[in-house]
Symmetry: C2
Subunit: 314 residues, 2 copies
């Protein structure tokens, strides 16, 4: 057992005892059918100083980002976030810190009408575990639904978060990219619209190459990606050296954009979603029979970077 995936595979062998469980462990969320007409989705994520936020994050920023990344998991399922539970481990009970933390949290609670329904506090090294529950809109989007010939899209721009991570603090580059790392925008509205059209969806949290691989494994398909079509933020090319571009675009990055696949017949619908949400949605490739192929300017391209794994990467 060397990776998160190994642990997931180990736990998948455990017995499930309940017929209401539609999808158990292994996707962005699990799915439970509580009532005859509505399915609910469940996700949990722990954020720690180090892997998830650094000392230059303000408490508001920690409050915002820890919830935003959980909301992103619900968005990637095409669902509406509803309820949050907070398990906070804090070095001390500082009223000022807690109020700032929840100020950042509250911006998202109010924007998406999410209710905090419970929690737990413990004394120890700072750690934030949030559990979020959402409800289905139309289809629930999973990693496993991609169909042969589907177009592959991403929302927004890719690579900004990783560009911040590899830039030295205090540099102009870091200042420019920091917002992509610290204030990701969960794509809830787009996910809800996509629940009528998309066949599969994932949020880009471990690096686009790894997240695409997760779609292809779950869907038992392959893909072709055109790296030069991957949309980047305006100053990406100014600040990121050619040597580092692949790492930012395909490697471990916390962009929290949606990567989804849809039948070609929905091209117009997807363009409309882009217009209405005022968010770029870009076609970057196609679902194929098998194999992962990357192209750059129509030439086959060999990817060197690996996606993020808490137990394999630094």
């Amino acid at each position: 057992m060397n990776s998160e995936q190994d642990l997931i595979n180990y736990l998948k062998r455990f017995k499930t005892y309940d017929k209401k469980i539609i999808t158990g462990i292994g996707d962005d969320c699990s799915i439970i059918k509580f009532s005859s007409n509505k399915k609910y989705v469940f996700t949990t994520d722990t954020s720690l100083l180090g892997p998830h936020f650094s000392k230059d994050y303000s408490p508001e920023e920690i409050g915002y980002k820890t919830l935003a990344t959980n909301i992103s998991d619900i968005a990637s399922m095409g669902c509406t976030p509803l309820y949050a539970m907070y398990a906070l481990t804090l070095p001390k009970m500082s009223e000022a810190w807690i109020q700032k933390f929840f100020k950042g949290t509250k911006r998202l609670l109010d924007k998406y009408k999410i209710s905090i329904i419970g929690g737990d506090t413990t004394k120890g090294p700072l750690s934030v575990t949030i559990q979020l529950i959402g409800v289905q809109n139309k289809k629930i989007l999973t990693r496993g639904g991609a169909k042969l010939g589907d177009d592959i899209y991403v929302t927004g721009t890719i690579g900004g978060a990783r560009a911040a991570l590899i830039s030295k603090k205090q540099t102009e580059a870091y200042k420019y990219f920091r917002k992509y790392l610290v204030r990701p925008q969960p794509r809830v509205q787009i996910g809800l619209e996509l629940s009528r059209f998309a066949n599969s969806c994932i949020d880009v949290s471990d690096g686009l190459a790894k997240d695409l691989k997760n779609i292809s494994i779950a869907s038992k398909k392959g893909f072709e990606i055109h790296i030069d079509l991957i949309p980047t933020c305006p100053k990406f090319n100014n600040f990121v050296s050619d040597k580092k571009k692949e790492e930012c675009l395909l490697g471990g990055g916390e962009d929290y954009e949606l990567c989804f696949t849809a039948n070609k017949k929905y091209t117009n619908n997807i363009n409309n979603i882009s217009k209405l949400s005022k968010t770029k949605i870009t076609k970057i490739g196609t679902i194929t029979h098998s194999k992962y192929k990357f192209y750059e300017n129509k030439k086959l391209y060999t990817v060197k970077t690996r996606g993020y794994d808490h137990f394999q990467c630094k």
Copy 2:
């Protein structure tokens, strides 16, 4: 903001956006009415090295206890545990450790037919956050339902866990009491039976005095407790000095027994539950109009100990 209760009170002022929320933050579990005929209960708890387990716990024991304490929260609501989500922070991905941890976990998963539906792993100082979801049986028991004149009961015995905590490791006393601390028995079956009779219930996790106070605050009532009626394990009096008895019986203790209140007319039913479950259920007092009164051999007794709070006690 100096305590967990202050934080709970702060979060209670946040808006809730959903009519399905029957009880939000503040009880052992929150309650959501997902379908017209069934309510579900949600709880989360973080366990850390230090406050929740010590270095002499084996991985199996950590796996067992971290789940047992969450199940106890569901039991105290008179509900059936169904689904668990695991957020594990581990110093390294050790296959041996993980398999032992889940061996301890699995004893309870199998006993209570609980399914793991999801989770998250992160690299960092050992921390286990479990979120557990349960479903109602008959009435959902809360802290807030105690009625004037209700009898107050506890299941099993009280004080063993605290007696272990204050005993020096390697002593005969520690070896004797250790099972009460490390292997608490969640009272699921008794909780389910009580859901037909009890008016209020809590699990004894922060110390009996504090947990009783929580019932009385939520129910807007008082109580009278006869300390000499509180049931203890067989060798309690041999090993615990008179000076330490109050701390073990009323102070911060992780007994995970149920403390509940019920109308006198159910005395026989409760005795039957005790017989069928082969578990002692003992009347220790009465719900009164207001005020907290403790008696020892019918004389008024002043309690010195405080209950457990992560941010106030060591």
